[in-house]
């Protein structure tokens, strides 16, 4: 019962992302914002939604230790189940944990080949087969273009979706979509979904950025910075 209620609060469906779109194997999505706006919190909410749908989530964090990542999940799950039956929430949390695997790397120690080797090892031993991979903290720039293509190929072959965090900077004049398209030599097939978080007064606005040819007439969402939970949609 609780699980069903929580699934309805999937942040991606609020943004108008169709289920088949978010679950197409090999699809790449990016959550983009400046530092400190809430990319990790949003990615963790995407992850929790997938966990609730019985999908296995592999969370990769560059820099943050396992404990810190775990804390994000705990906090956001607590916020999500606020006012719900504590016992039922606790039981649900226990079941979600078994479907989540956190891998953390130091910046210089991470590369896609290593990640692929790790996933292969986990899958071959039947320890963990991911359906969704969250990559948080990887610097998405042209220097890792070939690695991203390698991961995309691997994701298609192994049927998982990947969401990245993408940090933008004040001095960048290009919009995030252009930056992401540059990663793929402008043929724009690498990333399939881009979500942008922008500070809006004392709240955070979440909007889905249209990729080539797309039209998104959904109103943006608002995130409460205190809980990092989706609050409401803004009426146009």
């Amino acid at each position: 019962m609780l699980k069903k209620q929580l699934i309805l609060r999937d942040p991606l469906s609020f943004l108008g992302c169709e289920t088949d779109e978010t679950e197409i194997k090999g699809n790449f999505g990016a959550v983009t914002s400046r530092a400190g706006v809430g990319k990790t919190a949003f990615l963790v909410q995407i992850a929790i939604s997938s966990l609730l749908k019985d999908k296995n989530v592999l969370h990769i964090s560059i820099q943050d230790p396992v404990d810190k990542v775990n804390l994000w999940y705990k906090e956001l799950f607590l916020n999500l189940t606020h006012n719900q039956d504590a016992k039922e929430s606790k039981q649900l949390w226990e079941t979600l944990l078994a479907k989540r695997f956190i891998m953390t790397f130091e910046t210089e120690g991470f590369n896609v080949s290593k990640l692929i080797a790790r996933i292969d090892e986990l899958s071959s031993q039947n320890i963990f087969v991911p359906h969704l991979i969250i990559v948080d903290g990887l610097s998405l720039d042209i220097s890792i273009q070939s690695e991203l293509l390698q991961l995309k190929e691997y994701a298609i072959k192994n049927n998982f979706t990947t969401w990245f965090s993408m940090r933008t900077h004040r001095h960048q004049s290009e919009d995030p979509v252009t930056l992401l398209q540059q990663l793929d030599g402008n043929n724009s097939s690498l990333f399939n979904m881009v979500i942008q978080l922008v500070p809006h007064k004392d709240q955070i606005q979440v909007k889905r950025l249209p990729l080539t040819g797309e039209c998104n007439d959904r109103p943006p969402l608002l995130i409460d910075p205190a809980t990092m939970m989706i609050k409401e949609t803004i009426n146009k």
Binding site: H59, P65, V66, D67, V69, N70, A86, K87, E94, L97, A98, F101, I102, M103, T104, F105, E106, G109, F110, R118, E121, L122, Q125, N126, I127, F128
Partner: protein, 697 residues
């Protein structure tokens, strides 16, 4: 000399490393060179005496250091207090305690083995307590010695900014001396025990390497000193003091690890390790020590470190010596004089300070006082390890030490009466000395149960009972502390009625039991109108409590139960305390099985550090043991795997892990939570229990 000047010349240091890296030998050499002992006894020497620091018989035999022995020595006008710490993972509480009271450490590494599993554990502990360290690469005389490979490992595996301040003159059997990159001199160690130092010019063949390494050293140190940077830019001569000062700053900030090298066994380079401890490790004044203010919601307060201020001291180790209990103490603020009175903050009791000594392994020297920054030992003080002593009116406690929960239990039985007394004495001593070693008598079997941090941990204590106390002991199988609990709200209404001649027994209790989270047992009295007279309420509670120790289902302790009584009846003649206790027991039995009991097992947080190439196998092994892997963290070549594994699956895991990873992985384990036992496992436990009941064991 002023007080500050005196204090600047004090070093409280620990020596920690992987087992068999030679740290006890190194300490022995320190003591010899500082004239604290006049003969050297090897750890596994032919003279059968053993090293001075290994004062326990078992340590001497096994060649390992079990309990930290504290000692002090003087070197070039500096007073060095040394705590020799054990290397095996099962004894890490000793290492942790030592690091808690020390201001700096020497990390000893084997030039052949390099950074080994225990070095990683010890390094993490140093990080936890922010202990600055220098690294000593020992055993450079051994075949396969390669100190520069070890330095690379220090950088890659432990993330140290490790920079050599020396290079060896020859290696393996050709190790002749050391080149000091600060003074740019070749140092040779003559005499039978290397105690005569001969300074020479650097051999031509090594000059190029020495210059190259010196440049690297100056480069790395210049980050910590503007003056040094200026000198480098101006290409002027760099004074030794300036370079030492820069390295010292970096070391104290834990951003620079100076690396020294040599061979303790061959007496090469030891004086330079002592020099490095003086030069680079901090004095007590340079460390900010904090305490918890118990008057202000345990807010942290900084201690001044001044001897004029009120006393704050920590008892960090207890030992039972031939003259009674010896309490090792570190004074953080104020001073402790013979005859003074202070307060044990935990008990609130005043204690009078009798004899004060400074320890030199198992020998001692009487002193009149211990001042802030110093380590000493007291006689005749009743306390436990971790107690804070403070001046009257100071309600502060030193930050509590991280003490892991015991994870394994074992029953022990004495073979004869004499052994029973010896065991009692030994247990009393060991539990006071080591907070991770605990003991209790099982209500069920009447057996004495000991629990600790691992199989070896318990094994060593049992062995010590046999040797030091001549106790004959029979040990049982290690066991897990399962618990029963209920899962739903169930009413009860039970009448205890007995009429067997004479005064009868009568009592009726009604109410309900329900599960309660995070509490062992809750009893609530909601009786109104005196249906159960007030004087019998406590008997009702007693009756329920008596059922908790041994659950009606699988005979394990029952926890997480709330009992609410809301009705009942009594008889003016036949009701008694005993009758209501019996009624409560009956009510408990009546409701318990309807409340759908489940069995919970302890789940341990297991962190395994393994070279990355073995991480797949290690994860597989955790999976096989019903472990849930939370995640993995890659640091250099090492992967730390965090998981939660039922304790019952962890017996013998250290052996499995060793063989799976060629001994290169290590693990730590601490209690995390209790979780429900899965059905398949429950069946096995039930069968075992049935068998036990049948055989009566």
């Amino acid at each position: 000399m002023t007080m500050n000047n005196l204090m600047q010349k004090v070093r409280n240091i620990g020596i920690s490393a992987h087992i068999d890296s030679g740290k006890t030998t190194l300490t022995e050499r320190f003591l010899y060179l500082t004239k604290k002992i006049h003969r050297i006894h090897e750890v596994r020497g032919k003279d059968g005496v053993g090293a001075t620091m290994d004062s326990m018989e078992l340590e001497k035999e096994r060649g390992i250091t079990i309990a930290s022995a504290a000692t002090y020595c003087q070197w070039k006008n500096h007073e060095i207090n040394i705590i020799d710490t054990p290397g095996h993972v099962d004894f890490t509480i000793e290492v942790e305690r030592a690091l808690r009271v020390l201001d700096g450490a020497i990390l000893v590494l084997c030039s052949v083995g390099g950074v080994q599993s225990q070095s990683i554990t010890v390094d993490q502990q140093m990080k936890r307590y922010q202990v600055p360290c220098i690294a000593f690469i020992n055993k450079c005389d051994r075949n396969g010695a390669d100190p520069f490979r070890v330095i690379d490992q220090l950088r890659e595996k432990l993330n140290h900014n490790a920079v050599p301040i020396q290079i060896p003159i020859g290696l393996e059997a050709d190790l002749n001396g050391i080149i000091d990159l600060i003074s740019m001199k070749a140092v040779y160690f003559d005499g039978d025990f290397g105690d005569i130092i001969r300074l020479e010019e650097i051999p031509d063949a090594l000059m190029e390497t020495a210059l190259e390494k010196r440049e690297e050293l100056v480069d790395a140190a210049s980050i910590f000193s503007d003056e040094l940077t200026e000198a480098v830019i101006e290409e002027s001569e760099i004074p030794e003091a300036l370079l030492i000062d820069a390295i010292r700053k970096g070391t104290i900030q834990r951003e620079f690890t100076p690396v020294v090298m040599g061979s303790a066994y061959k007496n090469k380079g030891i004086q330079l390790v002592l020099d490095a401890a003086n030069d680079f490790l901090p004095s007590p004044m340079e460390i900010d020590n904090e305490a918890l203010n118990l008057d202000c919601n345990e807010e942290t307060i900084s201690l001044t470190g001044k001897k004029e201020d009120p006393l704050v001291a920590l008892a960090f180790k207890l030992e039972e010596g031939q003259f009674g209990q010896l309490t090792y103490i570190r004074v953080y603020q104020g001073k402790l004089n013979k005859g003074d009175t202070c307060v044990n903050i935990r008990t609130g009791k005043k204690i009078k300070i009798g004899r004060i000594v400074r320890m030199h392994s198992d020998q001692m020297e009487d002193v009149e006082k211990i001042e802030a920054g110093y380590i000493g030992a007291l006689f005749g003080v009743d306390c436990v390890s971790g107690d804070t002593f403070a001046a009257s009116g100071m309600n502060v406690s030193m930050t509590s030490m991280h003490i892991p929960e015991p994870v394994i239990s074992l029953s022990i039985k004495a073979k004869d009466n004499a052994s029973e007394i010896s065991i009692a004495k030994a247990l009393n001593r060991f539990t006071k000395e080591d907070p991770t070693f605990q003991t209790f008598v099982s209500n069920e079997t009447g057996e004495t149960i000991v629990s600790g941090m691992g199989e070896l941990h318990l094994e060593v204590y049992i062995e010590r009972m046999r040797r030091e106390y001549k106790a004959e002991i029979i040990t049982g199988e290690p066991s897990v502390a399962y618990r029963e609990t209920i899962t739903c709200n169930t009413p009860f209404d039970y009448t205890h009625k007995k009429q067997t001649g004479g005064a009868g027994q009568y009592g009726r209790i009604a109410g309900f039991m329900e599960p309660v989270a995070e509490e062992e047992f809750v009893f609530e009295n909601k009786i109104t109108g005196g249906s159960i007279p007030t004087q019998y309420i406590s008997s009702c509670e007693k009756g329920f409590v008596s059922c908790l120790a041994k659950g009606p289902w699988l005979k394990y302790p029952v926890t997480g139960v709330k009992i609410v009584i809301n009705d009942g009846a009594s008889h003016s003649v036949d009701s008694s305390e005993m009758a209501f206790q019996a009624a409560a027991r009956g009510a408990f039995q009546q409701a318990y099985f309807k409340a759908r009991p489940v069995l919970h097992e302890p789940i341990m947080k297991v962190v395994i550090e393994t070279p990355a190439e073995f991480q797949g196998n290690v994860m597989g092994s955790l999976n096989q043991r019903r472990g849930m892997i939370i995640g993995s963290h890659d640091v250099g070549q090492i992967t730390a795997i965090e998981s939660e594994v039922p304790l019952s699956e962890m017996f013998g895991y250290s052996t499995t892990l060793r063989s799976m990873t060629q001994g290169k992985a290590n693990f730590t384990m601490e209690f995390s939570t209790y979780k429900q036992v899965p059905k398949s496992i429950l069946e096995t436990i039930e069968k075992k229990n049935e068998k036990k009941t049948k055989t009566g064991t």
